[in-house]
Each structure stands twice: as C-alpha cells, then as structure tokens.
C-alpha cells in the first residue's frame, strides 16, 4: 500500500476545500481500503467524510433526505424507510454482510467500484484501472459482467444493490464540489463505459455527495429481487427493482424497472416500461416487454445466461406485482 496522508473533515465545505488532485474521500472504507491494499487505488491523501454531520434521515415535506454518511444498516432498519420505501430497505439488506453494512455509507455504496476480477488485480491489464491497457475480460472471464450498454473498452458492471433501488425510485443525488452544488437524478449518476471506462460516474474531481433525496414513493406495488448462486453475501448475478401500478381496468398505469448486474450503471429498462404503460398487465405483455428490452442486449459467450435470466426475472417479478 502506498503511504498516504489522512485528515478528517469537520464539514462538507471543508472536505471540498481539502480536495486536491490525488485526494480521495473516505467513507466506511469497505471498498476503498480494500482497493488500496490491492494497489488499485493509490491516493496520496484521504479526507475522511464518514463522520460529517450528514448522518441523518429526515423527512422534508413529502420527501425523505438521507445523509451521505448514513450507514447502510441504519438506512435499512429506519422505520420510515421500511414503511415508505420497503424496496430500498430490501435492496440494502441483500447487499454484502451485516458487518460490512454496519460501516458502509450511502455515498460509498453508490461509488463502490466494479468487482471485475481484472480490475482488482494490478498485475493484469484493465482499461478501467489503466486506460489504454486493454480489456481482457472480453476474451476471458466476463461471467458476471454486462449485457447492456458495454463498449469495446469495458464490459464491467456496477455492483451496488442500493443504486438499483434508487434508480427505480428516481432518487436525487445531492452533490457539492469545487464547481458548486448540483442535483443528479438517478439513474443518471453512473455512466456507460464508452471510450472512458475509467470514469464510473458523471461526478467531477472533488465532487462530494452530501445526500440522497427520495421523492414520494411511487404509486403501485414495489419489490426488489436479487439473484445469486449463494444465498447470502454475494453480489447479484442480476437484480431487479420494479414498480407496477395497475388500474382497476387492468391497464398498466405506471411501471418502472431497474436492473442490476447487467450494465456499467443501474439499468432502467425503458423500452420494457414504455411497452407496458397503457397496455394490459398480462404475462404475455410482460414477456413481450422483456423481449423488447433484451433486443438491445449484447451478451458475450460466458454471460449469455443473463439474457434468459433477465427475461424470466422481469416477467416473474411483474407477474408477482400484478397479482
């Protein structure tokens, strides 16, 4: 591990002032410190933002504001979150382990990096870690990597469960930084790899996440489901956060589908959503919608299973929500 300086910021503004190239913000450290041990992240300086006074969950009129430093466990067990956004509580609880969730923060969870095996091994090439060095995952191990929106440069997936639920809930990510404050609506925080796989998100250097704001819960039934070969403590092969609102006439009034484990960002299945809204809430319609979405899938040999998996998951989840 490369030697580094460490400071603890007292306020968000101070944290941003402390920023200089080579600086990284430190949340719970459950991802960043691992990557530093592996030599993947080599900051000169850490500014600890885990103890900023951004650790509360507050309701502001009909919205809920979750501080960036709220621990994953505290988010998942919060009575208001559980009552109003059960899908979010569920998504957080399916992630990692109790011990990891106790220290992991909301901002850190959003900004955790891909679990691609090559990315985590500094002795192998990886465009995301060393731009221009190549993407060995395409010919090698991509079993758990992307089927949507990947590029020739990178086929990584974003591993967060929480981010998938936030994408379905259309949460807003509040950011402050050297360039001022801004609000980024989910799923807009994460980007597709394109030519610049080294950039996971649209954040600029020095940007600090201060909060995640949840709009009023969507109308309709919601659910989060995660698929994994081990029953716990495993990243998603594919996950889904879905909202379905079926009117009394049996017509779909609203539908949101966010998928995890399939792309470089939480993937809103907009084609499927569009295909469903205004139509009947039947198994047949769900299947057609899933297939419409999967037309744009670009699976590789070892992750081709994610195509039927995603299709089945969309259909079965919507059927569950419709009944």
């Amino acid at each position: 591990m490369k030697p580094f300086d460490y400071t603890r910021a007292a306020s968000a503004a101070q944290a941003v002032r402390e920023y200089a190239p080579g600086t990284m913000y430190l949340g719970g450290g459950t991802n960043l410190v691992d990557l530093m041990r592996l030599g993947v992240a080599e900051p000169d300086r850490l500014v600890d933002v885990s103890r900023l006074p951004l650790d509360t969950i507050e309701s502001v009129r009909d919205r809920v504001r979750v501080g960036a430093a709220v621990r994953n466990t505290d988010l998942a067990v919060d009575p208001m979150i559980r009552a109003r956004y059960p899908m979010l509580a569920r998504a957080v609880l399916t992630g990692a382990s109790g011990q990891v969730r106790n220290v992991a923060t909301v901002a850190g969870n959003l900004l955790q990096r891909t679990r691609c095996a090559y990315f985590q091994d500094v002795t192998r090439p990886c465009n995301k870690r060393r731009p221009g060095s190549g993407c060995p995952a395409i010919a090698g191990d991509h079993t758990n990597l992307a089927i949507f929106g990947a590029s020739e440069a990178c086929v990584a997936t974003h591993p967060s469960d929480m981010a998938v639920a936030l994408a379905a809930l259309e949460a807003e990510v509040h950011v402050t930084g050297p360039g001022g404050d801004r609000i980024i609506p989910m799923p807009g925080l994460h980007r597709l790899p394109g030519e610049e796989p080294e950039r996971d998100t649209v954040l600029e250097p020095g940007d600090l996440i201060t909060a995640v704001e949840l709009p009023p819960p969507p109308t309709g039934a919601t659910v989060y489901r995660k698929v994994r070969e081990r029953a716990s403590f495993a990243f998603a092969l594919v996950s889904i956060a879905a909202v379905l609102d079926v009117g009394e006439d049996g017509v779909v009034a609203g539908c949101r589908i966010a998928l995890g484990g399939v792309a470089h960002a939480p993937w809103r299945a907009e084609r499927a959503e569009q295909a469903l809204i205004g139509g009947p809430a039947t198994g047949e319609a769900f299947l057609r919608a899933a297939e419409a979405e999967l037309e744009q899938a670009g699976p590789l040999p070892r992750n081709a299973y994610k195509v039927p998996l995603t299709r089945n998951l969309i259909v079965s989840t919507l059927e569950g929500l419709a009944s």
């Binding site: 591990m1 490369k2 030697p3 030599g39 679990r115 095996a117 090559y118 091994d121 002795t123 192998r124 060995p136 010919a139 090698g140 191990d141 079993t143 698929v227 994994r228 070969e229 081990r230 029953a231 716990s232 403590f233 495993a234 990243f235 092969l237 992750n303 081709a304 299973y305 994610k306 039927p308 998996l309 089945n312 998951l313 259909v315 079965s316």
Partner: protein
C-alpha cells in the same frame, strides 16, 4: 466432548504460527512471477533496497544455497518460471508494511515463452504417470469392457468435469523462522504435521533432523493445503538465515491461491453397462488431470471406482498433462471426492436408463469382496447406509419422474449418492507419563488443524487408562515430541490413537511411563480392503425463473467404524458435507488462459457456502464393529463427508429439473442455458 482448546480459541488466546512473540523479528514479503512460462532475465532490487526499513532482497540473482534443487520448495534455485504467481524474489524488512511496499517495486525482467494452462482430454501432452497419489497403480483392468458394454441392456457413456478448487483455511499459511547461535532452525509453521515439516525442512536446508524444530500448536484449518511443507516455511527460514534475525511471513489470501496447492481440474469419462436387472456388465472410469512442470502430482481420481461396485469388466485409468500451472495437491478427499462425483452421477444416469431406483441399483451391485484386488473387506456397510438413509429421508415415497414437483416457481427434487474413503493408518510414536500431581501427560507430534484431534486423543488416552478425561493432558504440534504422521488421508486419529493406546497400556503396566512405536504393529496389519462408506441424500429447490439452487435438506449416513466422539464426529461429517455443497453449487477457481495463473483469488469471488445456504444438514452413523482396524476400532472421518455430496445434489437437480449438468459447479447460468 467439548473441544479442549475451545476456550482459548474463542477468547483469542490460542497462539497461531504468526503470533508467537519473538524479539527482533523482521518480515518477508514474496514477489511473484507475472508470466506463466519463461525465464527470469534479471531481478533489479535497487529501488527496493533503497526503501525504508529494507534489509535484503532475495532472488535468483544470488541464490541462497539450498540442499535440494528442484520442485516447489527450491526457491530461487532456477531462473525458469513454471507458472504465474510463482515466487521469484522476496523482500525482508523491519515491518510488514515496509516489506510489502518494497516488494511492489522489485523489478523483474523476463524472457517469456508461450504458455499452456488449459486441460483438455485430447491434449497431446497427456501421459501415464508411474503411480497416482499416494502410491496406487495408475491403471487397472480386468475383464472385457467392450464385450460387457455390448451385452448390456443399458449403457451410459458420459463425461463429467470438475474445476480447479481451492482449500480456504481461515488461517493463512504462515511461518516464523529463527536460527540460533548453534545453527539450529526453529520454525513456527502452519503445518498439518510437524514431523513431516521438520523432515522436509531438514532436507531442503541439508541439516540433520535434530537441528530442526517445527512447532504448530494450533492450526486454523488446512484440508490438505498445509499437509506438505509450503514455500512460506522455506522462505522464512532462508530469509532468517540471510538477515541473521527471525523472519515472519504470512501469505495473503491471493498468494494462498497461487502457492499452496489446489485440487486439479478433472475431465472424467465413464462408460457403464448393466443388464436388465441392473447388474453391471462393464464399468470404465478414465480421468484426465493436470500437474505442473515442477513436480508431478497425480490425483487418484478413479481409485474409488476400483472398490465400489461388482462388475465383471472393470477398468480405471489416469492420464496427466504437465501444464504451465502451479502444482496441484491435496484437498479434502483428493481422488475420492471428484472421482465419486463422476461415478455417482453416472450411476444415477444409469438408473434412469434402466428405469430402476438408484438406491436399489447400488444395492444390486454390492460386491462380496473388493472388486479390484479380490480382498475381503474388513467391514462394509454401504447397503446399511443406503437403507437407513432411504428410510430416514422418506425415499420410499419418491416418484422418480424428473421435473414434475413444483411449489410456485420452485422445482423440487431429491438425489442420492454413495460415499467412501479408505481407512488407513501409518506408524506413529507416542509417550505417556504420570506427572507429579498424578495426572497423565500424553505426547505425540500429532496435529490439531481444527478437527478436534487434541480432544479425541484425550478421550482415547483416558479410556485406555481408565481415567477421567480431565486428568489427561495431550501435548501435540511440536516436532520435538514423539514422531507422528500428518493429519491427512483421514488417518490421523487411527495412527496417533494406536500409538497413544499402546503407550498408555505400557504406562499401566509400568506404573509411571509408557512409550510406543507402532511401526511393526502397522506393518503386521492383515490384508483387508479397509474403507468407510456412506450414503448421502439431498433435496434441492431449483427456481424455474432464475436457475438458483437451494439445498433444502442434506442427510448423510455413514459407517465408519466406532465413532470415538459423537460431537467431534458430527462436526467433521457436516463440515465435509457443507464443503461438498460448495463444490456442487458454487466453488470454482478460474484459470486465466491469456495470462496464466488464477482469477477470483479471494473469498468475495471464490464462494463457499454461507450460513444461509446451510439449511438442514444432518449426519448420522451406523454402529459399525470392525476389529481389524486399530485399538479404537475406528475409521477416519475427516474426508468422507465431502465424498458424494456434489453427486447427490447434482442428481437431485436432475430430478427437480430434468437437466443433467455435467460440469461443476451447477450454477444458475448452466441451468438456465439448458
């Protein structure tokens, strides 16, 4: 009995190899090859030597002398690179952090060659090894396979594959080495056998055995990966000699994947024929496996097929290929575990081909004597295990039709497979002596790698002496104690226990002390086929939506001689079965074909079962009497639990879904792509 060291372990007071307080200690950190084949052209240590706290850099540039010049332990003795991840240099520094930081800047230049890391059944380099681990014949053949297949009413000809698997003991491999003024070497090692580790180190450093001492009082799991001496022990000793100070070396989890052995991948072809009543007419099992260019390790994959079922024509064969990979080694039940996965899965296929119940099919083929050598069995209760298990599991009500039971999206199925493991013992020494307070001290260089050996030996000695277990104190894990074999091959308790009983018997007649050496006794063991047997039953739920497999019930019934201690035995059995579940559903190390070496080298990526996967795992045993074994009448139980589990699960997955996945692990992806 409760574990004797349970309290010190859960309170954190048990001292493991890397934890001994040693003055003036320094730290070593390895530098590993980044190519899979070729030569080290030059190791440039300049930058590393200039880093803070660095004492020296060891490499092939100035090879520290060793007495033995080949194999995985001959560190820096050659410039040839045999696999990616091989240790090619090491930094010694005043702190772990300084050693590790400096290791990162050691520059190694290579002349790389093209590598080949892929096992294939048609690999041109396949050859027939002289024997398979530890000393079995490579091939066996009796009767006419082709004729047997030709007259069969049903034939299966199937190929099963198992991936590279890694032992993942909780305690990483570590060593703390120091040399005293008289040139004696002391190593606190993570060894499954201190006698063997001492002998190996003595040979590697060209020392008389008396000048080497290896201590491993507590070992945090091994499963075979600590059965042979690993590079960390040699490197720590070599580094300590170079800097004239004690050296501590703890491998990282990733390094453990590279240099502490693994289970070879296998490709196994089975051809089985049976007549209309299910009696086998031919049974052929051919296994393809890999080894390294450094050392030969030939896993005994097809050997269980030599003893399981009566067949007039029986052929087994092993073919090996030397690849540019690390040397595979022991992993819980080497041979039996992957071999029985394939055999017991193929037998299930045969049962379907015949339209016969798979429990009955096994019973019909019960041999009277060992099929391979014709030897009588010292005891064999496979049929008893199958019947008892079938009864407890509710097998009688089973409808064999695949893919028809459903609860919502979940398809439900059950499967059965047999287990077996040899019941061996090796010579051991032991000493028992009455202490001043009247308690008895028992000494044997046995190893407790988390199995409960210390507790089992206490109980064995107490029974032999007619004393309460509290009055017996077992000292183990030190090569200065009476010599003993490794904790391996499920023969630890049988071997050490034999010597302990004999020493206790002598103490009883002597009144003060007894010593034993069972070499002669063991050599005089009569010619029997000695094996433990078992039957495992699995119930699985497979999601028709996601392909996820959950094991809702797992039952193992074992016949393993007299069970020395029920509590310890249950832990061994269910631990083995849980590891078998991992093998069946999730464990897999990927070989990196492009760059060599392994991928997924940590516990976030190499999945073993989590608590949530282990829903209902039950182990029971038959009361088996076998007087031919050893004074305890016991058979080893450390490995049989993992044998057969993956097949039972795979067979249950077939019963649930109608899909026969012949490549482990059975992941959601494989089920969905059917």
């Amino acid at each position: 009995m409760n574990r004797i060291e349970g309290r010190v372990k859960v309170t954190g007071l048990a001292t493991y190899a890397a934890e001994y307080p040693v003055e003036n200690v320094t730290y070593a950190f390895p530098v590993q090859s980044q190519i899979a084949k070729g030569r080290v052209r030059h190791v440039d240590a300049q930058a590393a030597l200039a880093m803070p706290g660095v004492l020296t850099v060891l490499s092939g540039e100035d090879p520290p002398p060793l007495a033995s010049g080949a194999g995985e332990l001959a560190l820096f003795q050659s410039r040839e690179v045999a696999y990616r991840g091989q240790i090619v240099a090491a930094v010694v520094a005043d702190t772990y952090e300084n050693a590790r930081a400096a290791a990162a800047v050691v520059r190694v230049d290579y002349d790389p060659d093209d590598h080949d890391v892929s096992l294939r059944a048609d690999h041109p380099g396949l050859y027939k090894p002289d024997h398979v681990n530890p000393a079995y014949p490579t091939d066996t053949e009796k009767g006419d396979i082709e004729a047997g297949l030709a007259r069969a009413a049903a034939v299966v000809d199937v190929t099963y594959e198992t991936p590279v698997l890694h032992n993942n003991p909780m305690e990483p491999h570590a060593a703390l080495a120091s040399w005293d003024d008289e040139g004696r070497l002391l190593v606190y090692d993570t060894a499954q056998g201190t006698t063997l580790s001492r002998n190996t180190l003595a040979k590697v450093f060209g020392l008389p055995k008396e000048r080497v001492r290896v201590v491993s009082r507590h070992v945090g799991g091994g499963f075979g990966s600590k059965g042979t001496t690993r590079p960390q022990a040699v490197l720590a000793a070599m580094a300590a000699r170079a800097v004239g100070r004690p050296v501590k070396l703890v491998l990282t989890r990733q390094q453990m994947y590279d240099v502490t052995g693994y289970r070879t991948p296998t490709i196994q072809r089975l051809r089985i024929g049976a007549d209309a009543e299910g009696r086998l007419t031919a049974l052929e099992h051919v296994a393809y496996e890999q080894t390294s260019t450094l050392e030969e390790f030939a896993e005994q994959t097809a050997t269980p097929t030599r003893i399981m079922y009566a067949a007039p024509a029986l052929r087994t064969a092993h073919r090996l290929v030397r690849l540019d990979v690390a040397t595979p080694s022991w992993m819980r039940a080497p041979g039996e575990c992957p071999g029985m996965y394939a055999l017991e899965s193929a037998l299930d296929e045969l049962a379907y081909a015949l339209g016969m119940d798979p429990v009955e099919l096994r019973i019909v083929n019960e041999p009277e004597t060992e099929p391979d050598r014709g030897l009588p069995f010292s005891s064999r209760n496979l049929v008893g295990c199958l019947r008892e298990g079938a009864h407890r599991f509710g097998w009688e009500q089973r409808d064999p039709a695949p893919g028809v039971r459903r609860e919502g999206e979940w398809l439900i199925g059950t499967g059965v497979a047999a287990s077996t493991y040899p019941a061996r013992r090796s010579p051991s020494k032991a000493r028992a002596v009455v202490q001043d307070d009247g308690d008895v001290l028992v000494q044997v260089a046995a190893a407790d790698i988390g199995t409960g050996a210390r507790t089992a030996l206490t109980r064995i000695a107490a029974e032999a002496l007619g004393l309460a277990p509290e009055r017996v104190h077992v000292e183990l894990g030190d090569s200065d104690l009476p010599e003993a074999p490794v904790a391996g091959g499920s023969m630890g308790t049988a071997s050490w226990g034999s010597a302990v009983v004999r020493a206790c018997e002598e103490l009883k007649s002597d009144g003060r002390e007894g010593t034993a050496d069972t070499t002669e006794e063991v050599q005089g063991d009569a010619a029997f086929s000695r094996h433990a047997f078992g039957a495992q039953f699995a119930e699985v739920r497979v999601s028709s939506v996601t392909g996820e497999v959950r094991v809702s019930r797992l039952l193992g019934v074992f016949a393993a001689g007299r069970i020395v201690d029920a509590k310890l035995a249950r832990s061994q059995f269910i631990g083995g079965m849980t590891m078998g579940m991992g093998m069946g559903l999730m464990e897999e190390t990927l070989t990196d074909e492009e760059f060599g070496g392994f991928l997924r080298r940590d516990l976030a990526q190499y999945h073993v079962p989590a608590c949530a996967d282990v829903l209902d795992v039950e182990a029971v045993w038959l009361d088996e009497r076998d007087s031919e074994l050893n004074p305890m009448a016991s058979k080893g139980i450390g490995e049989i639990g993992i044998v057969g589990t993956a097949a039972a699960i795979g067979n249950a997955v077939y019963h649930a879904t109608g899909h026969r996945v012949r490549e482990l692990p059975i992941t959601p992806g494989k089920i969905l792509m059917f």
